[in-house]
Subunit: 338 residues, 4 copies
């Protein structure tokens, strides 16, 4: 941590900061220049989260040097984390395609799609039982009934299930029926939910918030890891920008950036990024080329009857295009698509 | 609602859409141009939330005409909503200053500040018992203990209390001890929390999400209103942009925009917008001049000892400057500061 | 300047940086911590613009301490700059309203509006002769002919003229006919144009770019100041964000931020910020309350016939509302509207 | 074009709009609903750029249906444009790597790098002679002297040259010495420069502005095309967002989006997007996989001595990694790297 003092900081101001740093066990190093005095503080910066210096007089800026997260960091754990979801690996040299409908609508729909996905060689099915919708008048999901349909599809096909949990009170049910608990973008800083998901021994897929920085995303993951759940994967799903052509702006650079900073697997959601199915093949190829560990895409065999996000759902024939193209790029990256 | 067809849409595509519109009770009007066919659909657009047209073949774009929210809209209720918080009015010709510490730290701190606020003529005290913090290593608040301290301060001084609720499971406790339940920016689309807060007969202060549009903010309010709680005020607290000088960018235009679209009271949080106390007097003056119904600001008598956000806390003498300046501008706006 | 080394930086890496700092006349101060070595460099940081350290091995981050601009800074010049435009002062205790049409369309239009503005007590008229338009099919302005009409209006009424210059080749003409040369948002980083405008002894109004930070804006001003032209005013006119309700997002905090960092006058353009005339009265009031030195607004007596931006033009009766409200708030701020 | 009337629009308001539409040769179709009247207007919407309806009374919203650009659109020209730069093709089944230093510093540097690039099989060299720099104290480029060095390198090696033009007055010189004239992001809406570049029969590389939408980018290209120069390639180089980890946010979706909307070739600049060389290999792979027609990257053999952007320059050995990886992905895309 570096403290930059204002040009008009008094000796008293500087002494007060130096004393405080010593009091919390850090070692201050002062450099007095012509226009500014700066103070390097050596020691565990995370102590300063508990004893912030923000309001000491005479300070112009405080610049943290260490990352504010620890368990999520590449410095803490050098090798890539590979998550084992009942035998299906996420991370390493596999590239995982998760697919399924936006929302669970009924058993026929889910069974039809599950059977289809298995035939395509896919191992993980997505589908929302609890749906976060901007409008209270939109379809809110089937709830626990939806979870049961997903579990039945798993029973029938052996597919693993990923589904979103919206609420601490639903965590037990989701953990019971699903293989991966998904925390959606709107809940990335729902800290109660993060802590609760950290209590389970069940993989968690944490979606980046629409306005969350890479650092905030890793801090959100840290909440889960700190509770003892180490099976966390991150998901880039687009951020909010001024561009309106796409629903969100896929921040593809976040994938290698997260890989540089963290050991956690990173997947991409091209469906919600683009919000239009025309761009999904291209973004899926880019995801594998950039080094992501997988994608999660929306598929529907009757998108015109879909209760949500029909415009961004791939039809089965579209999914086959995506799979074929992704496999070619994955081969060039020495990765195996599953 | 207007449906714009692609140049290559077939008659079959167009007929399918027209039939669907009729099936859900809307009246289609087709206009065939040289380069595009468009279809105006007359009727209750909200039905289309349940039967989305998104994935019908041949559609280029769907343009909603009506607002997707209803109860929150100015069309639904022409006159301004004025919320009565135990005799303290929010909205109308008053301008309400809510002040207090970022976090409840201990009883001495809260009592000291409460006594001070009363002397300044302030009626509503803020203070966080449950704190949403980006880092799991930062102070997370005193929880229910904090709520009790706030309630004791109310008992002692008559101040009304506004405090944040993070979690559906804490709603009962917050509703019991506080006068206004605050939903924070990070939870603006925590739909479970919104629905739960709609069940109480207790004022709710809904903060705009850091990346929420004005429309999404009003839809979030609609979630609360739809459950029967009409005492909702909105709070503009800065949005995320590329500018890093301030912590967030105060979207001052959102105040008159929300007033144009909705009847709900709108307040401003200059502390979190700016993230630096130097700008708070100017932003407070702008808030009253732009037509907001109040501000909520952080105050601390010993900011250098504050457990959070000390750099953006006003000291008592700073608050007095803010109050003095706000009163002058409020007089020019024919509003009374309370 | 502070250099933070990577955890794996070698002694050789560190020595190389230290030697380079000495070579360019700066004094390095090393602090070796457990996890990081940092180096404070005392001296004139602007030298590093010419000898950047960016690519030296072992460096994790370089943190500038001093502002990269000098002549524009409050540290360089403590007292507020007041610009004298032929007797009309901008800055100080006056609040200047500049008004006029988006584009000069013909002499009748300009004369009609000029006569009207004089009657309203306004001293500076705006009007575009060279128009920067997103589409090549939109009206591009009358060019020099437009400048002559503006000059004729000045002759007739005594109003001072502010008009945009798009191109270095038009600078002489604009400088001849206008009193204030405006550099538009799209040209804020057209460095050739900035340098050229710095050669004149004529006031310049520099509009902030749509995606320019406060620091980049001050660096753009520095380009003009460095050439010897000190009569620069800055104009906040809205930035690009995800919000689409308004045309741009007025960054009202930029006004006090620029005042804190710089001595230059700051005005606000509510017309282009909002892009809809309904919000202009509220944003104009906010501008005066926040401490701006003026506003520049679009007015048209026949907006339905305007060749550009008719939707954001005030009608004369709207302008009178703005003036009346601005005067009331200005009085509360001890400022005189002109 | 669709005009949505306000609920309180009068018959007179509606008639006025209908009459105006007829007057400019468009055919209005009215649909009167319970809550809104809407009017579809059939005909050439671009006429409305000259006769805008914006300020007619009673209008709530005007929704364009046709694209505002024509020559740049895929509707206008179905097949992909392939640009021939003296025998080097851009577009089609080739993937073009353009590489070279940020700035031309001296002849030795340029010759060294040119010889190296040729050995790597690269055909186009980049290098800035006129440098747009945020700070007036930073290196501004060698100007015409730099152009001559680039031309000498072309003479020596046969490499084609791409270099930026900042100013209309430099266009002749750049057109004389270079093979591709680059318009930088800061000048994307410098309409004078766009028009001037449209006058040459010389390829133009138009970089997307940092806050330009896809539509604005295509409108900027339209300015060049309209003057008769059809050899325009677009370059995605990152947009400004709240994320600060990278210098800009590479909007990878813009590549397939531009391909969908337009026939022009699209390249990617990973160096300026990322602003850190660590991410360049990953973003280069993503660029080829997403369907771009090339990349433009910064290379320097002594980045620690570079006068600009050393931190984002690849060293020769890094470039070889990029080339190797790009070739593998290109093969999977049936494209040949040149």
């Amino acid at each position: 941590m570096i403290i930059v003092f204002r040009p008009d900081a008094t000796d008293k101001d500087i002494d007060a900061v130096v004393d405080q740093l010593k009091a919390i066990g850090m070692t201050p190093h002062l450099s007095r220049g012509v226009s500014r005095t700066i103070c390097g503080a050596i020691g565990d910066e995370r102590k300063l989260e508990e004893h912030p210096l923000d309001a000491f007089a005479g300070i112009e800026r405080i610049i943290p040097i260490l990352k504010p997260y620890k368990l999520a960091s590449r410095e803490f754990k050098k090798e890539d984390t590979i998550i084992d979801v009942g035998g299906v690996k996420i991370g390493g040299n596999t590239f995982t395609v998760m697919a399924g409908p936006c929302a669970v609508e009924n058993q026929d729909q889910v069974f039809y799609l599950a059977d289809y996905l298995v035939k395509q060689g896919i191992h993980i099915m997505r589908g929302g039982a609890f749906k976060p919708r901007s409008s209270p008048y939109a379809f809110q999901g089937l709830g626990v009934e939806g979870l049961k349909i997903l579990a039945a599809a798993r029973e029938r096909t052996g597919l693993k299930i990923i589904t979103e949990v919206l609420d601490v009170d639903d965590c037990d049910a989701v953990a019971e029926y699903a293989d991966i608990m998904q925390i959606g973008a709107r809940n990335m800083q729902n800290f109660s939910l993060l802590k609760r998901c950290g209590k389970y021994r069940k993989a968690v897929c944490l979606k980046r918030g629409m306005s969350a920085t890479i650092q905030e995303t890793l801090l959100a993951a840290e909440y889960i890891l700190k509770e003892g759940n180490h099976d966390v994967m991150l998901c880039e799903r687009g951020i909010k920008t001024f561009e309106t052509y796409t629903r969100n702006t896929l921040d593809i650079s976040a994938v290698p950036a997260l890989k540089l900073e963290s050991h956690l697997p990173v997947i991409v959601d091209p469906s919600h990024s683009a919000g239009m199915k025309e761009l999904i093949p291209a973004l899926s190829r880019a995801s594998v080329a950039v080094g992501a560990d997988g994608i999660i895409v929306e598929v529907h065999h009757q998108p015109e009857k879909a209760l949500c996000d029909g415009h961004q759902a791939l039809r089965p024939q579209d999914l086959e295009v995506v799979l074929r193209e992704v496999k070619r790029v994955a081969a060039a990256m020495d990765r195996v698509v599953q």
